[in-house]
């Protein structure tokens, strides 16, 4: 398989999709991204890096941060985590209060917003300044000490974040947030505001492809079982209400963000990052999904 050729072809093939989708419009900083942008990068376990498109452009990783934050908390806190958040896919949108109320404040999984708020809350209790710790982790794993938050985006999210505030207050009323609501929200929004490029993101995902051992930092970030677990949750819950569609078409563990990025993992082989700001109706990057579908279909590679 000639990976460079493959992703260059894909970049050309998905071009028609760029005009069919618009960026997230709920905050100005995201809405302003040019939807014609596209980038894809593949980092292999043997140290190769392939990239195409706007691969050096940093974008807001948004919910992709949830996969890394979960990995950090699972490493530190272990299975005790699962007493505060479930690991089952949700049949409802990522910011729904309905299921949360029926399940009395215990979110269905760590990748819906409520679940990520609980993970952030645990991180605050266990690690302290959780958003800074996540930033430092990603700096190490992408070998890019310059990575940082986008404070404008974080502030904008906070200002428009009444839905997330509703989730947090509800869980606080159920006793499933231990720290101050405003503090949890601030760290959550800050972590989501991190900016990375697809090459940085693909590299940072390698420890998930390598059964927990990072070839970048040389650190064993997770046990083999924990890496399996994070990948399993990415596959079943990582792409909002479209996990079934992604599993069916792409067949890889993925985590997407409303900034238009998607991180995908092929265990034992490689980590893939794609970015294009235009979103489909379920909040995933339209062109990125098309690109990943083509990548696994043409290469014949997937977990299935």
């Amino acid at each position: 398989m000639n990976i460079q050729q493959l992703i260059d072809d894909i970049a050309a093939d998905v071009r028609p999709y760029l005009a069919q989708a618009a960026p997230a419009d709920y905050i100005p900083a995201l809405a302003g991204e040019d939807p014609q942008q596209f980038a894809m990068a593949v980092a292999t376990l043997d140290g190769q890096l392939y990239a195409t498109g706007h691969s050096d452009k940093r974008f807001s990783i948004q919910s992709i941060s949830k996969a890394f934050m979960l990995a950090r908390v699972l490493a530190v806190y272990g299975d005790a985590l699962w007493q505060r958040v479930g690991k089952e896919p949700s049949g409802n949108p990522f910011n729904s209060l309905v299921q949360l109320e029926y399940e009395q404040g215990v979110p269905r999984n760590p990748f819906i917003n409520a679940g990520a708020l609980v993970v952030t809350d645990i991180a605050l209790s266990q690690i302290g300044d959780s958003s800074s710790a996540l930033r430092d982790f990603l700096r190490e794993e992408s070998a890019q000490p310059a990575l940082d938050f986008d404070y404008v985006i974080a502030a904008s999210e906070s200002e428009h974040g009444h839905r997330n505030a509703a989730l947090a207050h509800f869980m606080k009323s159920c006793g499933n947030l231990h720290n101050n609501v405003d503090q949890v929200l601030a760290h959550y929004f800050r972590a989501c505001s991190l900016r990375m490029s697809v090459t940085e993101l693909a590299r940072a995902g390698l420890f998930l492809a390598n059964h927990g051992a990072s070839p970048v930092s040389g650190v064993q970030r997770l046990t083999r079982s924990q890496a399996k677990q994070i990948n399993a949750i990415m596959l079943t819950c990582g792409t909002y209400d479209a996990a079934g569609e992604f599993a069916y078409r792409v067949g890889l563990p993925c985590k997407s963000g409303v900034g238009g990025g998607i991180l995908a993992v092929l265990p034992g082989k490689m980590s893939i990052a794609v970015w294009s700001p235009g979103l489909d109706s379920r909040g995933n990057s339209l062109a990125s999904l098309e690109a990943l579908d083509r990548f696994t279909t043409r290469s014949g590679e997937s977990v299935f």
Copy 2:
């Protein structure tokens, strides 16, 4: 890896779990199974078959039949299928009417009961006598011409099947069942009543592990993409409301049945069948889940 040794060890290790779970009690024919029974079989792509426990005892495969029926319908009817049933995991129990009503009679996925009824309905329209066709298919793929329905169980299910009748009538009222309600239910219950042993089941699952090409019958049952798709849906939706738990612990596409059986697939390598009648609170075989967890954890093999 010494597979025979591994599954013999596992059979010994899960013995304490046998006493902790009771068989399904909603129909007498299932309730009467001795919960002390356990069997496990592994069929590899290179033609080996390993088995332990009550591996020749035939049991009611129940919902495992849904995976095979889906494979048949996908092969015949293709992606048109997805206009009548979704492919997203459900946040609700397998026989819930709630989600079905919110989604106006289009079931979330083909493995909840409502979805399987739609698949059966399509099979009736496309294939004719769908339950007999499924029996014949499984006779070929297990190389066991004696496989058959358990008419006592089918009749008993039918008699106690008011919940499934409610699902079917509701979908009929939405226009999403085309055949007669009673006929659809009869074929559904008959397919579920098929009796197979773990060795027969493991062998019958090989075409899913071999990207669609059956090493038993020599027939290409599905395209490579379709095999990926079936495995993806098994992983995200195959174990009732516990798909996340299975992905997390086992990390393989699985399909379970209330008869206590589970079929698991390791693409490119093997097919695994486990059986023990005692069920956990979510309707999956307790000892079979424990066995599969140990199998992937000790062997280090999983899709992740």
Copy 3:
């Protein structure tokens, strides 16, 4: 108050509404009614009867039958009834399965379809041929021995009644229907198919306005408390998902049917029946609601 003048004026005033609504279209026999028809009748406790419009035309009373069936069952079976059905208003449409599932097969109130099926089931157990008994009761209370079922409508409802069959099978699966599902449905549809005119209906409602004692038959049909109870349930639950709107605008206990009829009760004074086939978006007769609103607003009479 000159009642005849008032209802004649109202008949003129609501004429523009007749063209704005269409009859129920789910069965041909109802869909064929001319939407230009309107009738209103008032029967007072002192024996007067006032009528305007097509007041001798018999129409399908449909769900209005539920109020009479409930009165019969409450008289015979007493408060034991409330162990099988609630008496709280429902926040969901009249034929919803959602709430029924959450409340494990115990319908919210006797006027949603599921609740009326339970009441019919109790009537079958307590009274025997429940639909014939209801017909005979209404013949006596309207002093019209010729009242009868419309067997064409009953058959048509049965043929298209998959939604009601779903409700019945679901409750059967929960153990809250004791008789055969098909038998319950048959009696339910037959009772709904009764044809009455507004004058007959207004007269038949007098026992509810007279604290249980019928001035027509001379029989004490309900105790004073039971009459209060039926009126209370009509006010809180009698008009599908619009009980609040009716209470707010009309301020009387009402029971409506998809045939376009509404029965209203002013306790201590009178019984009012209105009919016009065109329905609003919630399944109540548009012109009949307008007429009742005008009647209570102009007369200053209501329970509030």
Copy 4:
């Protein structure tokens, strides 16, 4: 009817219920009330006042304030109100987020918490300092210039009010709160914290019994239609998830509060206030409901 004798008898009869229920326990200030307290007062349109029990003891009126606030806003803002809140009974608990999400931030009625927050928001926009205005209104209508907030209770509610904060933030995210979330919550909690005795409360309710014209202040507080409307909403929505039970047993428009008080209205005749701190499972005062049931059953008086 000898009202004094009747309520004295009732006070004796409900004594056994006092020990069967506990005060609201979610804030210390309410939890500390002695559950053995009971009081009942009746104010008639002809100026009589009857009282029994701890009738001078002021208690926290809590949600009873919602009826008065609604009356104030309806008088000022009129039917435009109903574009921001519904008037249908809710099938869900008073503080549920589920229905609110399905109905996209428009609360079902003004007496569930979400609805009362919207009414408070409108009051803030239309009247300014809404809680002080309500206090002044109640001072006039009870002829008690000393009535005031309980700032300790208001502060305690605010501290434990994460559930209400969740509702408010959710509606803010839907655009259905116009003022600052914290400001709306502060006025809401302050209005709920008002302390009144049953005699003061019964007197203050007289304008609702007198078709809008207050015999206390001599002011026409509502039009006849508006008084009917408020009473209608009290009857269908005024007692949390037990409106059907109240209508069935009591047959009067009622508004209850978790402080243990209930205000009931018999249009054209009288206003009744009852108080006892112990609550039943649905949040209404257990002994107060028993007392109102006996009052209407023995007197034969109710709206039905």
